[in-house]
Amino acid sequence: MVRDFVELDQVALRYGGDVEGTLALQDTSLTVREGEFVAVVGPSGCGKSTLMKVVSGLWPASAGTVAVNGREVTKPLDIVGMAFQNPNLLPWRTTLANVMLPLEIAEPHIRRLRREYPSYLAKVRDLLKMVGLQEFETKHPWELSGGMQQRASLCRALIHDPSLLLLDEPFGALDMFTREELWLALQDLWLARKPTVVLVTHDLREAVFLADRVLVMSNRPGRIIADHAVDIPRPRSLDETFAPKAIEIIQTLRDQISNVRKSAT
């Protein structure tokens, strides 16, 4: 029996004031099991990113409860790896040093880093190798392509073995082919380490390729209105996103999102 790792129960989030502020989430309930890969899709501005902030504890929920790993979230979690559309690498650091950053901050690595540096270095290099960056470890971010930067950003999100990985449209700014390459890289990383993942995206093929379950969000204020299991065995290939099974799910998701969009206007 796999236990629930992320549990949101009737969560609301209002920002910019308690009464007159914008309601970004309302009655949002969802669960993500341990080691599960869940994608969240929805119309733009529906509060997908807000959902990430609430799950990570960066923003406290205005109502309802958020629990991660069996404990209620009241302050920013320190077990989370995050990656965003913008890779946000530090320009004064090499790829290697950028990926090392979490080890200099997160417990318990911060205390061990100096003593066990060689083993940490080997770990970083393994990770870079997995995403094909082993020859770029001494390069600075501006010497990398957008796809490479995003790979490094993923490595940075994973280096400290977070039990929860939050990805907010990490491939949104990349071209189609680079994006597909990174899907494969992310799938490999996930299969190797099995963290719990919540991926926010507006690319339905991406959601279906990567996720065990795809959740659909309503218009703002967002809540979960549908939940699709993606029953395709792993490792998946890119071709399978064009197979009937995947196409069927993508079609359904598409219909649901366009219905949601219509209902708003």
Binding site: L58, P76, D78, N88, L90, P91, W92, L101, L166
Partner: protein, 281 residues
Amino acid sequence: MNGKTKPAGLAAPAKEAVRRSRRRKLVRKASPYLVIIGSFLLWELAVWLLKIEPFVLPAPSAIFAAGWEWRGPILLASWQTFVTTIIGFLLAVAFGLAAGTAIGASSALYDAVYPALIGFNSVPKVAVVPILVIWCGIGTLPAIITAFLISFFPILVNVATGIATVEPELRDVLRALGAKQHQILLKVGLPRSMPYFFASLKIAISVAFVGSIVAETVASDSGIGHFMLVASSRFQVPLAFAGLVVTGVMGIAMYVVAVMIEKRMTGWATRGVDTGMVAGG
């Protein structure tokens, strides 16, 4: 251009092109010196042709002669000004870095202090010198304080800007790792503000120099500012101009040192291109 593309025929023009581009680079490198020398020559020529009186506008030759003749006192005065400027400047760096970091790290402090700082910066520092004289008397101290007052602001503003503009997503990434405020500052805020900081040093060193000379002119008994004042009050106009030339040379020298430090410390930010990133000042 003819249609032939014989490799042997291309060799000579290619060599010629290399030579030409090398010559162009050399001219480019020498151009600042050529401009300075050229303007002195033009000046010399104008004074001779228009028969301008030396007590109105002395010729460069007369200026350099006077400067050479008085080289001892000029050197002494320049050293005094140099030391004054550097002390004021270093104080400004220390204070500007500390206050800039504090103001950049706390948006509440930023909102509270910034308007007052802008008001303070708008006060012409020449107007403050007489008050400084009342407080500390005539001498080196008012000049140091003036150099400090005039030069800390650009440093403070630039450091604060660099720290306050850390990308919110990056902040989230770090906070989600359990980073404390001071860790974010240390790992991201401060390194990020370094290009701003070093860019501001260029401005700060120049204005610190202006500050100390102004203060020396108004209220001192030493330094190059005082030296020029004395020279012009004795109608030794070429000597006063010699003082001006020396201040110009010193200003350039200090600026060059600041640029060299900047290039060394924050090459990652410019990637070999001079961006001229500067806020305030």
